[in-house]
């Protein structure tokens, strides 16, 4: 049987390697893929630390959704990073000092699983002891998230809701301009509502969008 420490060291070494590879990579597609691998390695490491709930989230969000979103962004922008304009010495110095400060900060952190650490000794009696009696569910993480810290979770849900709303408001209205749009603008015919993505203009824009999607599908099918 392999020791947990060995696996931890291996995973952390791979994490460092992936991070260095991402920084040195000029092709953004490859960098995004490597970021997904980075998240997956991070998730595996969290699993070793007995935090399956966090590992689960990291695997689903970090390796899954963020990768897809980053790829979607690349499809709209560019796939190669620009060559750096100036020498990297100042950023390198800032990063090194910050990193050293963070490592220094970990020196007085308690050891993993230390029963006397603040996280394990406060509040007393701990949620681990109370959950069984007060909530009757085995997963203490869920009990803390949904019940003891229900306000925080409501706040987080509202944050996600706000993020979704922000993306919809920012990106849905202002789409990249097609030749038709330009032509209409020359005619002086684009109302402000249509631009903002509200009112009847938005529906028309959506219909056009679905239509063009289908068109693209057909083109894909015929070219294959």
């Amino acid at each position: 049987m392999i020791e947990t420490e060995t696996v931890t060291v291996l995973l952390l070494a791979l994490l460092c390697l992936t991070a260095i590879a991402v920084v040195r990579m000029r092709s953004l597609w490859a960098a995004v893929m490597l970021m997904g691998i980075y998240s997956l390695l991070g998730a595996s490491w969290m699993l070793l630390l007995d935090a399956p709930d966090v590992a689960f989230t990291e695997a689903a969000v970090g390796a899954g959704i963020s990768t897809v979103l980053a790829l979607a962004t690349l499809a709209l922008t560019t796939t190669r990073a620009k060559e750096p304009v100036h020498a990297p010495w100042l950023p390198l110095a800032v990063v090194t000092v910050t990193g050293a400060a963070l490592v220094y900060g970990t020196i007085d952190m308690p050891r993993v699983g230390d029963p006397n650490s603040p996280a394990n000794s406060y509040p007393h009696p701990s949620y681990v002891e109370r959950t069984e009696e007060e909530i009757h569910i085995p997963n203490v993480v869920t009990a803390v998230l949904a019940s003891y810290r229900g306000y925080d979770t409501l706040g987080e849900t509202v944050v996600i809701f706000t993020a979704g709303l922000g993306v919809l408001l920012l990106l849905r209205g202002t789409r990249s301009r097609s030749p038709e749009d330009e032509a209409r603008e020359v005619d002086g015919g684009v109302e402000p509502e249509a631009r903002a993505g509200a009112g009847p203009g938005a529906e028309a824009a959506e219909a056009r969008d679905v239509g063009s999607g289908e068109e693209q599908d057909r083109r894909g099918a015929s070219s294959a």
Binding site: D53, T142, S147, G150, T157, F161, G164, S212, D217
Partner: protein, 140 residues
């Protein structure tokens, strides 16, 4: 990617299991790892896979943007509404114990199930909305 037979068939086989797994993670979160957040993301991942293979238009037919926008806010309403319901029943905001007065622990259990469902609904809808907005942007 509409001409790729293997991808189409394999993803079609996988999709129901991805959605089922999301539901399992959603409603089994009290017993094992998981909960609304993870379940919502996995559920949305099913839609993302569908969009990647069958095109964004197929997903928009399945989950029209207007519907997704409504669902996105319903999740938050379920969560906050549970809090209001417990207040109306005489407890504090989000004090699930009052849902089943004779057995507070059971009330906690119900409350957690309901609010986790709210979280899952919002997260899934937001992820689908963000993805389809990003993916649909370059096409018009």
């Amino acid at each position: 990617m509409t001409g790729q037979t293997i991808l189409r068939v394999v993803s079609k086989l996988l999709l129901p299991y991805i959605l089922l797994f999301a539901l399992y993670v959603q409603f089994h979160g009290d017993y094992g790892p998981g909960g609304g957040f993870q379940a919502g993301v996995i559920f949305a991942a099913g839609f993302v896979l569908y969009a990647l293979i069958y095109g964004l238009a197929a997903v928009r037919r399945l989950a029209p943007p207007r519907l997704v926008e409504v669902v996105l806010s319903i999740g938050v309403l379920i969560f906050a509404g549970t809090g209001v319901a417990t207040m109306l029943l005489g407890g504090k905001f989000l004090e699930y114990g009052v849902l089943v007065p004779e057995h507070p622990a059971e009330g906690q259990h119900y409350g957690i199930l309901v609010i986790e469902f709210g979280v899952g609904v919002t997260v899934a809808a937001v992820m689908i909305a963000i993805f389809s907005t990003f993916a649909g942007r370059g096409r018009a």
